[in-house]
Amino acid sequence: MRRYVLRRLLLMIPTFLGITLLTFVIAQLAPGDPFQLDLEVVGPGQAVIDLQRTSKGLDAPLPLQFGRWLSRVVRFDFGRSFIDQRPVTEKLGEAAPRTALVAGLALVLGFGLAVPLGVLLATRARRWWARVLSVLLVAAWSVPTFWIAVILLMLFAGPRYFDWFPVQGLAEGGFVLPVICLTWPTLVVATRQVRSALEDALAQDYVKAARARGIPERRVVWRHALRNSLLPVVTMLGLHLPHLVGGSVVIERIFGIPGMGLLAFDAIGTRDYPTVMGVATVMALVTMLSMLLVDLAYGFIDPRIRLERSA
């Protein structure tokens, strides 16, 4: 077990390098310069721009810059933002909890609701309401998230209809609407996964055997079949988390939540490389850790799977 985790942690290093290197290259290739944003800075200003570029190490060749960045990151130093000069860690520290709150709630809600819903759809597939629901799920999947956000904003925030939630920010229940928007796609995807996995499981021989032994249907479904069909669902949960955070870019922009998505978007727009790299690093760590947790969770859900399996 310990060896397995260690091995997985070691395997993370190349993945981490890959993600950060890719981000670094893309960010640096973009035309534009963090120090040239103000057009009134002209003439003698150019000399200052050059000085600043030098002092921030931007005149060094790219591989050297990346090396320097890495050597600082291992000491947990992300540098300072080129734009407002605040430490990147401080900015990340402000943004991350907001995104974590919204995305986390959406993840929990989405999967929490998806399991009973999926079970219902798999076991009562023939009922008319189950058909309606399953079609509704496909339909729900077909609407752009930001469109939902706009409609929700119009209906439930502001004075036109139901003045229940603030238009911007997370205070005073402001997190409700963004969480709904992010839960929506999660719920749809997860429900479909639970349903199809459970349908497969229910067709297996051991389920038939259990039924033949006279175990009540409820117990067959919830204890025997569901347990086995949760495996792919858990995998999906791990894979879905990063996409949830990615999807929050649009949601954060609409609802004015200064989270990771907005931070990254603005940082890319202003070529604020230290901040871009900081966000990329955090995202990389989050996704890799969630994948590791998924793999570990396998062992708990299905004892048949030995962790040495992939070792």
Partner: protein, 582 residues
């Protein structure tokens, strides 16, 4: 069956009205119908609700319409004795990067002016185009305009209790002139400064290398005085930029990144203390969200209303009952400029033709909604710097075609595009992806250009890319705006041909006559004489069509009726005079 019915089924009635009842299919495709109908319908209804949300409003107009003052955006002064206390919540469309005007990257024009204004003070303040004492009790200038002696007011303290002295003025200037600091905006205007003397704590003597009217004006009227003890250390990362310490009527309390900025009254202010106990700036970037919050009454002062929302608010009884609107034209002009380094646009006839094809009436109707007064002048249009005789070019396609024909442009290969010597007449407008105004305006212009046989297109890039293209002079046509806080300005940097290489003369305009005038203006301290020279510059720049000036950006704000003492001025509002009635 209405849209609202569907929604309330979801929202209010827990047991749930049946959203959809199974339909007994009548024809063979039964299974599909049973599957698809229900989901299409709720979707459609959901959308319809959105639709009806908007349509029902204008119909419900209440008896009393908006007043003429409301329509015009005229502020109605309500007298009465000022009341102390209360908080003013202000919407800001952008979050400032840092709270200082010195640092180039932190200075964002209007937003910085608004947020830094109540904290820092200058040596003198600009009132009605004149400098009046503020932190400086008095000043005197030598006749040759080469030295300036300033006496500071005594008894002024910074918000942290430290007294203001000449060392603070000197430290601020030192920070501006430190070569590695990104303070070039001020350094440019103060470039004639030779040295600073501080004979005692209350006296500052400035020596200039040569007379330059704007340097004196900037030093007295624009340069904020920062505390010397706060300017120690690396300039980029000074704590002062995040938590300013000034001498103004308000002091900094807290800054919640991404959401709000709070100031409180400076009770130890040297002059008349402010009435408001608190000022809260809330950053709401998204216009739609800001308008919803405004309708909700979340802002005492709503700023930067879009022209469309301004027009829409005219029929909103809720708003006109609770708010007063403010309309006035700022000193910010938007212009389109053609790259005169390119042979095509170096021809004044082509530039004039392009100007004659600008559909200004349509733009006024569909884009600015008649809210942006047009200008032709590179100076503050309401001042004597502009020649009132000069009128904007009319929209006149036949005249434009004639000019182009005179310049040798004709459709020789019959492809619908004018050409000359095998070169086609084409313009690519560089546009920033973050400019909704250009996204609306350019398609209109494109249409009139195309009809005149000019191959026009838009090239959209993101802001950083835009800036680097502009700096590299890699464009046909750009749109930018210039903005100044007060009426006194020097346009050397944008109009002089010497500034075309690496200065702010991005369009590459060059006219020796204008160059001479601009140089003369710089050394002219007499306002009347300077204005006369500036009017000549205006006329020449117009004749050359160096820029296609469009509108002056209007200030479109609204404040609650209980807010009193709010007076618009070029440098935003003076918050220390504002108070809130019951």
């Amino acid at each position: 069956m209405s849209g609202a019915g569907y929604l309330s089924a979801g929202a209010h009635v827990p047991e749930g009205l049946p959203i959809w009842r199974p339909v007994k299919p009548k024809w063979p495709t039964r299974a599909f119908r049973a599957n698809v109908r229900p989901n299409v319908r709720p979707l459609f209804l959901l959308v319809l609700v959105a639709a009806s949300s908007c349509t029902c409003r204008p119909g419900t107009a209440v008896d009393a319409g908006p007043s003429a003052d409301w329509r015009a955006g005229r502020v109605v002064e309500v007298g009465g004795a000022p009341k102390e206390g209360g908080a003013l919540t202000v919407r800001l469309p952008l979050e400032p990067v840092g709270l200082t005007r010195l640092h180039d990257r932190f200075n964002e024009g209007t937003m910085t002016r608004i947020t830094v204004g109540p904290i820092y003070e200058t040596l003198a303040r600009v009132r009605d185009g004149q400098l009046q004492p503020l932190l400086a009790r008095s000043w005197s200038e030598s006749d040759d305009h080469l030295s300036l002696s300033i006496t500071l007011r005594s008894g002024v303290t910074f918000h942290d209790g430290q007294p203001l002295g000449s060392a603070d003025v000197k430290a601020t200037l030192d920070a501006v002139f430190e070569p590695k600091n990104a303070t070039t905006a001020f350094r440019g205007n103060l470039e004639t400064l030779e040295r600073v003397e501080t004979p005692d704590a209350q006296t500052v003597i400035i020596h200039w290398k040569r007379p330059y009217f704007l340097a004196t004006w900037t030093l007295l009227g624009a340069l904020p005085v920062l505390p010397a003890h706060g300017l120690v250390g690396d300039f980029d990362t000074l704590p002062l930029h995040r938590a300013p310490v000034g001498t103004g009527p308000f002091r900094f309390v807290k800054w919640e990144a991404g959401s709000s900025l709070t100031y409180a009254r400076n009770d130890a202010y040297w002059g008349q203390t402010a009435h408001l106990a608190q000022v809260i700036f809330r950053f709401v970037k998204d216009d739609t969200a800001a308008i919803a919050a405004w309708e909700r009454g979340e802002f005492d002062l709503m700023t930067r209303i879009s022209p469309a929302a301004w027009r829409a608010s005219e029929s909103n009884p809720k708003l006109w009952a609770g708010y007063q609107r403010v309309f006035f034209a700022e000193n910010t002009w938007v212009w389109l400029g053609f790259n005169q380094r390119k042979p095509l646009f170096a021809d004044v006839r082509v530039r004039k033709a392009l100007g004659l094809l600008f559909p200004m009436e349509l733009v006024a109707r569909a884009v600015d909604l008649g809210l942006e007064p047009r200008t032709t002048c590179p100076y503050f249009p309401d001042s004597k710097s502009c020649d009132p005789e000069v009128k904007p070019l009319p929209f006149d396609p036949p005249a434009a075609k004639k000019l182009l024909a005179d310049a040798g442009w004709a459709d020789r290969d019959a492809d619908g595009v004018l050409d000359r010597e095998g070169v086609k007449l084409s313009v690519a407008f560089l546009a920033s992806a973050q400019s909704p105004k250009m996204a609306k305006l350019l398609p209109l212009y494109l249409d009139t250009l195309k009809q005149a046989g000019i191959d026009a297109r838009i090239e959209t890039v993101d802001v950083s890319g835009y800036m680097s293209r502009v700096r590299a002079h890699d464009f046909d046509a750009i749109a930018l705006s210039w903005s100044t806080a007060d009426a006194v300005q020097d346009n050397f940097q944008i109009l002089h041909s010497s500034q075309a290489a690496e200065g702010a003369n991005y369009v590459g305009y060059s006219n020796p006559q204008v160059d001479t005038l601009l140089t003369a203006i710089r050394a002219e301290f007499d306002l009347e004489k300077r204005n006369a020279l500036e009017r000549q510059v205006h006329r020449l720049v117009y004749d050359d069509q160096a820029y296609l000036f469009m509108g002056r950006r209007p200030t479109l704000d609204a404040f609650k009726r209980k807010v009193r003492g709010l007076k618009p001025s070029l440098g935003w509002y003076d918050l220390s005079a504002v108070w809130i009635a019951d």
